[in-house]
Amino acid sequence: MCDIIWCKKDFEGKPCNTINYLDPYCFWNWEGTINCAECGAVYYIHMIQGKMYRGPEDRPGEKPDTSPLYADKPLEGYRFYGAGIPDRTRPFECLPRHIYLGVPDMVKFSIRNRPVRGWRPQAPDGGIAGSYQFNWDLKRLSPDVYEEYQQKIKNGEVTEW
């Protein structure tokens, strides 16, 4: 649940029609100016406890104090502005980890460089009615990882903690 600024200014010959989301963690009690993520129009708002007390009022020419976190254009399908686009949206400070791959990351070693197992693709058949053995024999089932592990041991990269 959050308030929005639906910008309907003319922009490049047609209505801007961008919804700028006023995320409550930032705007719950907030007064100042904010830009539209698409056309850059500046609006003044004053929110008290999540309610729009004043605004949005046009403030052309002013420098915006902040930007929306996220904006989209629902009338144009799935066009949107995600977080952290310079001069359009605010960076997302919800702290994803520093390495973000966005794709499955089949790690083969834990942070102390010992092999983890059970990665994809798995062994094609687990036995009768899917019964797996109690042990994933690394040497037999994943010889390449086993070799890499031996190398890590030799290099002294395998630690206790």
Binding site: Y25, Q49, L95, H98, G118, G126, G130, W136, W161
Partner: protein
């Protein structure tokens, strides 16, 4: 030695011969505890629940955890999952990249999410579509040779499938039956539950988080703490039922509403309402009874150059406690809050809402140019209670927990190197400690072990059932 070998003399017995000697021979308490609990050596000790066999037709965290407590204490637990799919928790967060494989040989590209961790350790995982009439015989056979079952379906579902307490009790009068779910019998009996629902509907979320005029909202805990909490509550019920059965020889039905359980954490909320008509409010990181006794924001992170934003930006919170008058004076002397010391002399005055707002604002102002570590060290050096709000990594790296064995690495037979904190953090038992054999097993991994080795069905039948997706 006494002349008559039947005579026992104190001086002939091993051990100290006098009170002084006894005192001398006593090892320091620290050493004693180390020897008693001996982290890392749990597997050489007996298991208190060895011999108990439990069935678990549970899902997600709440009811599975009630059984995993038993499994960690030595019970044989058979987790029954739906064929091909398994527990829905396997398909939950967090994110594909942390999936552990294998799930099941019929789904080679799907794994189990890490959310499943800690909720089903040490259990045998079998599959069974137990509502089918064809599988009733196998299900009832398991019931006859088990001590109890935990289930989490909507109230009455197992009754409709002829496998509720009143049916199973006839087959096995010693059977302990647990139903765990949302609301339990009553007008809301068909309401399901999740942790967030329990936290919200029980009134717990309404007192968590800052007050609305400080920009706060009712908050749920980020993790599913009411799932873990209610599950553990069920385990207490099970242990009591086992004890009762030793006395009477009879089983019990335990009916456990997760929503109801969460109200237990609310402490004095209901009595307060009953007496004064006051509805408890949120007070966030502060305390309604004590001040100063809360979490404050410091100006600088302890790890300003860290790569990980959780360290770089978040390591800025400290818990500060100085509610006794002496401590309060000390705190004011250190932080330069002389005016506040004169203004709020007693804890009763300090615990007032307006006073707390002023006090914590002043504390945060004092901490504005300090790191979390500096704040804690300054206060600790003055004999006050102050600790940093740590994240998981700091917990992992803390020598204290490593020494106690509450965080440790284990080599899981299937999944390899796993960092573990669940089992061993749940209290230490000197004689019969909890232990972790494996974190969980793939869907149906123990079908042969249970159906063939325990129940005696031929493997051909098992394969046939498997083909029909009954297993």
């Amino acid at each position: 030695m006494a002349k008559d070998p039947r005579e026992t003399r104190i001086e002939d017995l091993p051990g100290p011969k006098s009170k002084e000697e006894l005192e001398e021979m006593k090892m320091p308490y620290e050493e004693y505890c180390k020897a008693q609990f001996d982290p890392g050596n749990e597997f050489s000790k007996p298991q208190s629940l060895k011999g108990i066999r439990w069935l678990s037709t549970t899902m997600y965290i709440f009811t599975p955890h009630s059984v995993s407590n038993l499994a960690e204490l030595g019970a044989d637990v058979i987790k029954v999952e739906m064929p091909r799919m398994g527990d829905p928790m396997r398909h939950c967060a967090p994110f594909n990249e942390t999936y552990l494989y294998p799930l099941h040989d019929s789904r080679p590209m799907t794994g189990t999410g890490m959310g499943y961790l800690n909720a089903n350790p040490n259990e045998y995982h079998i599959t069974m579509d137990y509502h089918l009439p064809e599988m009733k015989e196998a299900f009832y056979s398991l019931v006859k040779m088990s001590d109890g079952l935990t289930e989490c379906y909507r109230p009455g579902t197992f009754d409709r499938w002829n496998q509720s307490f009143r049916f199973l009790q006839e087959m096995n009068p010693r059977f302990i039956y647990v139903w765990g779910g949302g609301f339990g019998y009553g007008p809301k009996c068909f309401g399901g539950s999740y942790d967030i629902l329990g936290q919200a509907h029980a009134g717990l979320a309404s007192v968590t988080g800052m007050h609305e005029y400080m920009g706060g909202h009712p908050l749920k805990h980020s993790n599913w703490c009411i799932d873990w909490y209610s599950g553990t509550q069920i385990t207490f019920g099970i242990l009591a039922a086992i004890h009762w059965r030793r006395k009477t020889g009879l089983g019990t039905m335990i009916e456990f509403s997760q929503v109801q359980a969460a109200t237990r954490c609310l402490g004095y909320a209901a009595p307060l309402y009953g007496r004064f008509g006051i509805v408890r409010q949120r007070w966030g990181n502060w305390d309604t009874q004590l001040c100063a006794h809360g979490i404050i924001l410091c100006g600088k992170s302890d790890f300003p150059d860290a790569e990980n934003p959780q360290d770089r930006l978040e390591a800025r919170y400290a818990m500060v406690s100085a509610f006794q008058d002496e401590d309060w004076k000390e705190l004011c002397a250190i932080t330069g809050m002389k005016d506040l010391m004169d203004k709020y002399k007693s804890n009763n005055e300090r615990a007032e809402g307006e006073a707390q707002i002023e006090i914590y604002a002043a504390l945060e102002k004092w901490a504005e140019d300090k790191s979390r570590g500096e704040v804690c060290k300054t206060l600790q050096d003055a004999g006050l209670l102050a600790e940093p709000v740590c994240n998981d990594r700091e917990y992992y790296e803390d020598e204290h927990w490593r020494m106690r064995g509450t965080v440790r690495w284990m080599d899981d037979p299937i999944f390899g190197d796993i960092l573990q904190h669940g089992t061993y953090a749940s209290g230490l038992l000197s004689k019969t400690p909890r232990r972790l054999f494996w974190i969980w097993r793939p869907v149906g991994a123990d079908n042969v072990k249970i159906y063939h080795e325990l129940l005696g069905y031929p493997t051909k039948t098992i394969e046939e059932w498997y083909e029909k997706a009954w297993l």
